[in-house]
Assembly symmetry: C2
Homo-oligomer: 146 residues x 2
DNA sequence: CCTTGACTTAAAGCTAACTTTAAGTATTAG
DNA sequence: CTAATACTTAAAGTTAGCTTTAAGTCAAGG
């Protein structure tokens, strides 16, 4: 299947203007043209899926371009591309861990406001109760160690 | 305990310049001054911990300021603050889910490059093998449904 | 007393990742 | 044939979140 830029935009969920920008930035190698107009194939859409993955997990466009450039070199760049993917994979795992940590902080705040709303006031909410009730340490407990 | 801005910066892991910027943006209400110089207390550091949580989970500074403003209103704003926290909590859970989805895409790529390096070439790697070997769908499998 | 270093401010500058604008070309429907 | 629509380009503009700069104040140590 072939697609115009607006069809591709619809499919991958990226505005056409942004796709042109990515193309200009060298993120979309070898997009075909017909009368100067871009023609997208399924393989291009699949690559854009990977670009979205890398971009949304925090890889800068510069680095994505490096990855795309390596891809053009074929099998000679397999190891280098593998290293990039492995690094990004570790990076994403770290992000998930970090978000889970922040989620605990928000869990505490959720508990806190629940308690405060029940009491009608946030004065005299005991941080110790959080541990007693949930078995978890209050993340911003003034008495927390470390 | 009291701290200078550079001690506070060290403690919370935010540059002093950025702390001044946050203060200017209204994210740090009622920081004490002594001869015009900011004096940080433990309670301020704890608030900065929450700010870091909100900021790093994607809340814009504008919105953080709204939250901080509400805090100043005391118990009258408990419900509103609770809504903000609940929304951010859901937002973080969505982010984690999204990252786990992207991680699967990277898991596939990891498998792919492993296989390609073993074979010496990425020509003729079967996407079907990924499902056979791991029981998972290849995220950018050209034959994938949906 | 004088220098050093930490602090102060307002304002300008920076970077990434778009987004918009302006001007033009090509295809299609009536 | 004409008008609408979809596309093209280069370049300027936007936004968030800092970061740097310039000019100055203040307290402590030698």
């Amino acid at each position: 299947m072939s697609y115009t830029i607006s069809e591709a935009a619809e499919k991958v969920g990226i505005p056409a203007t942004t796709i042109r920008y990515y193309d200009k930035e060298g993120l979309l190698p070898n997009i075909k043209r017909k009368n100067g107009i871009r023609v997208f194939e399924d393989i291009d859409l699949r690559l854009m899926g990977l670009l979205t993955c890398l971009k949304d997990t925090g890889m800068p466009i510069k680095r994505i371009r490096e990855y795309v450039e390596l891809t053009k070199k074929g099998d000679a760049s397999l190891q280098e591309r593998y290293e990039i993917i492995k690094a990004q994979r570790r990076f994403v795992m770290d992000q998930i861990r970090q978000l889970q940590f922040y989620l605990e902080e928000l869990d505490f705040k959720d508990w806190y406001y629940n308690k405060a709303l029940a009491a009608g006031t946030e004065k005299a909410i005991s941080f110790d109760d959080y541990e007693k009730e949930t078995g978890r340490k209050a993340p911003d407990d003034p008495n927390r160690k470390g």
